[in-house]
Subunit: 528 residues, 2 copies
């Protein structure tokens, strides 16, 4: 499949605008072939109108038809073959194994959502049957289910060119819910985006989905994004990226004449609490595990552990020494872009200059291309509490160790945290029981609490929560990974005293889809 | 129980402020006894801190303990006896049967949420078990459930002094979720609010709930409300009332350093579509039913039908004549306050002056006290589409008939609608099948679609949706009535690789609470 640099507006390729840009290879900063055309307001308007036109037909498709569409997208992505992997490597400098692994994850996500749609119970069908002779007034027959919100705008992330991008979790869950999708491609991987976008369009064609069910627009500036979020036809936004980007979309969405929900996942510092028992038992192993997690993917994960809280002891000294040794062994890695490298080094320099912060390891000096090394810092409890900037995310391979005196200081660190995606506790089982109050505090701060593991690596399953209180996300009640993510793009509607014939299949007495339903308060798959 | 006019800050009565006001009897505009003290910022801060202190203990209570608390609130409200009914009648001019009926509904709501908490499955427990030998990486054990958001601010409505007020659906669902509640009492019924607030505090004492689980603050100006929504300790807002009030809270919540969700139910015009078959079959009955619904409670319901869409025919002429006759027979009724009456008459005058709008019936002239009569207007399709103000809610007993030429005009009226709480369709079954596309349009506009009924009367049950797209609410994905309302005040959290001992009861292998859980994708009550 050829890369043209055009926008994909419904089934048409379109390049009406005068603003263009080129993707770059982060390893060399060389421009890649093919000029990319930024979408104009007119093109975005066409894409949204096309999505609006497609909406009724798309959400009237059967569960099976929608599931086959999602499965077919997965197949069509795989069929893009080597050219996709090659272009993606050129645009991101990520290694081949990572790209093919991420492609597998992307396909599995699509298939998982296909299975959720096929099974069908996600619509939370609820039926209360009538009681015509109830006193003082008869009770009506009322039936509720989730229906799709309408056309959705999705903003891909820089750091997951496949799994959190054009056909990533946001798109998969929105299509699964029955919403047409307009993707704003991330400007760091426009070629990858176009290829995947074309795979989605091919799948739509193969499975007879209406034109407009998917569009892809390019944009290097913020203009295209703002045109999407402010378009009256857009009913929700999915976003993965920086706090600045997510907050700008959130504010724009709330300024609209009709505000819409914004599901922005904006990253996190992912504190790791190492309890005394664990530190005593295995401080070298912990240091090795932590550095692996910090350095994974050159630290470019929103679940990267940027804060490690310990209690001062001989064990913590030894732990810090191991951190130093291990991090010094990490080879430098290429970041996703010159801008991302610059932001990382700015963050590092802020830490270096911060009063009371000690640099435990300075990343290697080899800075050719966009290579950076791993940095380790340490500070005490007081320094941490006095300097709010120490809890800001430094996107890249670095972490800050906070040394506390005792349990109460450790808990006060937890209490001082803002919202994060994850928190991790390393401990013995005895530690964990003794620190039950730490768990209670962390529950209020994050979406996921990990015991004796590391936060990187987000399992795509029914139980995952990839979310958390602001500023980790703008939507504390949602997750952007896992099957519960589908509920971001639906809302409840109820039908009162509707005849059987006209009710959606999910709510008919016969339960033709054989889904789980709550009937007069009881869960059942039975018919009425 | 004595009315003091004080704020209830945790278990203390408090009157630190200099601003005071009196409740009035709407029937006479006479001031009622007892001076009411507006809460100061300091008192609101104390209430929120008290709620924060109570939070951990409150949400650690067992399901049974929390359920008993809710049941006991219902009992304590009933035990307030005649003085509550009397004060409520004085403050609202609503008839005794309405007050006692609403008290029953309020108690039933509390008991329904108690049953939801007792049953326990609302937390949406999801468990994915570990696969330690999975390739290429092991799969962790991950377990998700809903936990409470934290202290919640609730704003009672003027028009439901019990069921949507201090111990109404918002408070019941927030307490059920495990959130401490701070209620801002509606200034039109402060005495009623205080009595019910004291019943909640008595129930809290009887069932050993921590101080701070509930507070009540008074405010006539908007200051107290703004102090609540902008307090960093408040994690969500529940509101029922005007668009202006709800939007102000929504904007303030989004301006916070940490934005919070606002569940504001802001009213609606509740369009009623009468299809040709039904109009032919029973236009007199329809007119009688509609006028009953319009005039019920002097039109002071957010589900009041303010718009009736018909197609021009001999039947529609006859229908309009019946509307005229029936509405002329409705006696005037007393509105809840002088301000509400003034707003109603302003809305009426706007309609009277609107070009192309005909006044079919003018409400009776008897305007002593705050009495108003029922008004009926009519306009054609073109007038309606050209004048956006015709879709604005006129809070009170009036309705506007839109006469269209045919099906396509009727559907275009539906398409032109903004978000509403409800839409109603009257038709034969044949009508409904022919107008399936009308149903599709209305699904996108409202939270509840009623067939051959009237929108007033909102059943409190598992399937109810009392919500809808903006501007009906600020939270299209939620309902404020029915058991699904509990999910407004919770959020998901997941635990990765946690030892059994430390997991919440809902997520332990043994399933000690015997709740429904999704285990590896399948719904079951079994243990693992």
């Amino acid at each position: 499949m050829e890369i043209t640099g055009f926008n994909l507006i419904g089934n048409r390729e379109s390049a009406k605008g005068g603003n263009t840009f080129f993707a770059k290879n982060p390893a060399t900063d060389a421009e890649l072939t093919v000029k990319i055309f930024e979408a104009t307001r007119e093109e975005i308007d066409e894409a949204v109108k096309s999505a609006q036109n497609a909406f009724n037909e798309f959400h009237s498709k059967t569960n099976e038809e929608r599931a086959v569409f999602l499965d077919t997208i997965a197949e069509c992505i795989l069929e893009l073959g080597e050219p996709l992997v090659k272009r993606c490597m050129e645009e991101t400098a990520l290694p081949e194994a990572r790209i093919t692994g991420e492609r597998m994850r992307t396909m599995n996500q699509l298939k998982l959502f296909a299975s959720v749609v096929r099974e069908g119970s996600w619509v939370d069908a609820r039926i209360d049957t009538a009681i015509p002779d109830r006193q003082p007034v008869p009770k009506s027959d009322i039936r509720q289910m989730q229906i799709p919100l309408g056309p959705v705008g999705i903003f891909g992330a820089s750091n997951f060119p496949l799994a959190f991008s054009v056909a990533g979790g946001d798109t998969a869950s929105a299509l699964a819910a029955g919403c047409p999708v307009i993707v704003k491609a991330h400007p760091l991987h426009p070629g990858t985006s176009e290829l995947v976008g074309k795979a989605i369009l091919l799948a739509a064609k193969k499975t007879n989905m209406p034109e407009g069910v998917f569009s892809l627009v390019h944009g290097f500036s913020t203009e295209a994004g703002m045109a999407i979020v402010s378009h009256p036809g857009i009913k929700a936004i999915g976003f993965t990226g920086s706090f600045k980007g997510g907050k700008a979309l959130f504010d724009a969405a709330n300024r609209r004449e009709t505000p819409i929900p914004v599901f922005a996942e904006m990253g996190s510092v992912n504190p790791v609490f190492i309890l005394p028992g664990a530190l005593k038992e295995r401080n070298e192993t912990l240091a090795a595990g932590l550095i692996s997690s910090v350095a994974l993917g050159v630290g470019q994960f929103c679940t990267n552990p940027g804060l490690v809280i310990t209690q001062k002891s001989e064990d913590s000294k030894s732990f810090l020494n191991h951190l130093k040794t291990r991090s010094a062994e990490v080879p430098s890695g290429i970041m996703l872009s010159e801008q991302i490298k610059r932001n990382y080094l700015n963050g590092i320099n802020n830490l270096i200059k911060s009063k009371g912060v000690e640099t435990v390891n300075s990343g290697a000096e080899d800075e050719s291309g966009n290579k950076v090394g791993t940095f380790i810092f340490s500070a005490d409890y007081k320094t941490f509490l006095e300097n709010k900037t120490l809890t800001e995310e430094v996107f890249g391979p670095s972490t800050l160790n906070i040394a506390t005196q005792d349990k109460s200081e450790m808990i006060r660190v937890a209490q001082a945290l803002e919202g994060h995606l994850t928190a991790t506790i390393h401990g013995t089982e005895a530690d964990l029981e003794e620190y039950a109050d730490l768990v209670k505090v962390l529950e209020q701060k994050v979406g996921r609490i990990i015991f004796n593991g590391f936060p990187t690596g987000v399992e795509v399953c029914h139980s995952m929560v990839h979310g958390g209180p602001y500023p980790a996300t703008t939507a504390v009640q949602s997750t952007s990974v896992g099957t519960a993510a589908i509920r971001r793009f639906s809302r409840p509607v109820c039908y009162q005293d509707f005849p059987q014939k006209v009710l959606p299949a999910q709510l008919k007495n016969e339960n033709p889809l054989k889904i789980w339903r709550m009937i007069n308060g009881d869960m059942t798959k039975e018919k009425i």
